[in-house]
């Protein structure tokens, strides 16, 4: 096998040469190398002549520099330098360290030398960093089902953000709206009512409203006018408290506009049995594969249901992720037609 001795590895061969570990071929190659690179011979103190007949001895400093450190050796002036380096390298056992410390303290020159050795310890400059780590990184392979689920989540979120045009219907229905829609002959604008009768508009909760409306629908006063306004939230209704009518405490009358069609539609909307109401359980999941896949992956409850609004029934959607629940209801088309 050809041996390749270079400037980078010649010292290892030199060490083996001194220890007598080179075979004849290696010794021959090493000799040729040193002859070709005589400048190395000059730099290396005490380099042996390669004429094996010489009895020249190596300089002890150089010998020490290539010796294998033997921790069992006695600490003396000839070996102290090796022990100084060993102490710096932290490879002395406790007994030898004790001996070393004792020797150093008794010899000022060795102590100064050791102090100098301590300064040869190198420390990295942590301010030097590789700035563009991002260029080294690789993309993490995302399983297909996770990608699929991420797309589904984006679609669901987008669906939730789609402005349902139905929401516009939840504007406060003014008397003007009702007039234009149903050609009402006699309509009192809300503002006028307010000013004239010093009414106070109130937004009440669903159950209260339904109750009150039902009560007021039994009122047979022909002069009553119905004004119904709906806020942007479904199932909330605002109405006026007329001062011309006798009212019981916490009970409000509605001014009825006597339009049979409006009245009919309103009755159907505010019917006592809430037949327009669509429970979540009756909504259907349009993407069961996605929700089931996500559910299995993230080990959390996921549910998504939707329903289209019909003439008589609400529509909307329902989304659940763990403890988070979001839902939106859309009024039946009959109600939307009021606009």
């Amino acid at each position: 096998m050809k041996i390749n001795i270079t400037k980078e590895n010649y010292e290892a061969y030199y060490l083996d040469f001194l220890e007598g570990n080179l075979n004849d071929i290696e010794k021959d190659e090493f000799s040729k190398f040193i002859i070709l690179h005589s400048e190395l011979r000059i730099e290396e103190e005490g380099l042996l002549e390669l004429d094996s007949s010489t009895n020249e001895k190596l300089d002890s400093t150089f010998t020490n520099s290539i010796k294998i450190f033997d921790k069992n050796e006695t600490i003396s002036h000839t070996t102290i330098e090796l022990f100084e380096i060993a102490a710096l390298e932290n490879i002395l056992n406790s007994q030898k360290k004790e001996e070393f410390d004792k020797f150093i303290n008794q010899n000022q020159s060795s102590k100064s030398e050791f102090e100098l050795y301590k300064k040869t310890k190198l420390f990295p400059d942590l301010s030097i960093t590789f700035s563009n780590k991002k260029s080294l990184k690789r993309g993490v392979i995302i399983p297909l089902y996770v990608k699929f689920s991420a797309v589904a989540a984006v679609l669901i979120a987008s669906f939730m953000l789609i402005p349902f045009n139905n929401s516009e219907t939840y504007n406060f229905l003014t008397a003007q709206h009702i007039q234009s829609r149903f050609n009402a002959k006699k309509i009192t604008p809300l503002i006028e009512i307010k000013n004239m009768q010093q009414n106070k508009s109130i937004v009440a909760k669903n159950e209260i409203k339904l109750k009150n409306i039902q009560v007021n629908q039994q009122n047979n006063n022909q002069n009553q006018q119905l004004e119904i306004g709906m806020t942007k939230e479904i199932n909330s209704i605002s109405f006026k408290k007329p001062s011309l009518f006798e009212t019981k405490p916490n009970n409000y009358e509605i001014k009825n506009i006597d339009f049979s069609s409006v009245k009919t539609q309103n009755n159907s909307y505010f019917s006592e049995d809430n037949s327009y109401y669509l429970p979540i359980e009756e909504m259907k999941n349009p993407v069961p594969i996605i929700t089931n896949g996500l559910k299995n992956k993230i080990k959390r409850e996921i549910d998504f249901r939707s329903a289209k609004a019909t003439d008589k029934k609400q529509g909307g959607f329902y989304f659940k992720l763990g403890k988070l629940e979001i839902s939106r209801k859309i009024a039946p088309k009959d109600v939307l037609a009021l606009k």
């Binding site: 060490l15 520099s65 010796k67 294998i68 390298e89 040869t120 780590k133 080294l136």
Partner: protein, 167 residues
């Protein structure tokens, strides 16, 4: 080693590899190239690399890249020119202005043969054992000890020289 573990290795060791390369090559662009090359080679074989040994693998790869770069630059003569321009200035003015220990050690480090510089950097910067350094540099443990001992002596003698001049 998967991609996630590889990316963690980038965050953990890229700076170390860069400092190691920079100390050898004394050129930021070349040192960055070595870092890129090193991580590219590790990525090519990431499936066969045990994540617990990625640091050794990185330094071994970086070391070989550095040696290749140095050989290439020595052939073109560039590295010698750099060494001559920076490290031959021995004027007394230069010495008096640069009595900072770190700077002197940097100069001393650059007088060492590459193999000695490598082993002492791996020892001090990365706290590798002799056995680990031997694996990285393809040496025996005994050789590593010798190189470190010689490197320490050279550094000490360099410091001593400057102390004598400064005093």
């Amino acid at each position: 080693m998967n991609a996630k573990e590889y990316n963690i290795a980038v965050d953990t060791f890229a700076d170390n590899i860069y400092r190691f390369a920079l100390k050898h090559l004394k050129n930021e662009m070349t040192a960055k190239d070595v870092v890129q090359e090193t991580f590219l080679k590790v990525w090519d074989k990431h499936e066969t690399i045990d994540v617990s040994k990625v640091k050794s693998y990185l330094f071994t790869t970086a070391y070989h890249s550095i040696i290749d770069w140095i050989k290439k630059e020595k052939r073109s003569g560039d590295i010698e020119k750099v060494e001559n321009s920076i490290y031959s200035n021995n004027s007394s003015d230069f010495l008096s202005e640069n009595n900072d220990l770190k700077k002197i050690l940097d100069l001393a480090l650059n007088t060492l043969p590459e193999i000695q510089k490598t082993v002492v950097l791996l020892r001090d910067y990365e706290a590798y054992s002799y056995f680990e350094i031997a694996e990285i540099c393809n040496l025996t443990e005994a050789q590593v000890k010798v190189y470190i001992f010689r490197a320490r002596q050279s550094l000490k003698n360099y410091l001593k020289k400057y102390e004598l001049i400064a005093s």
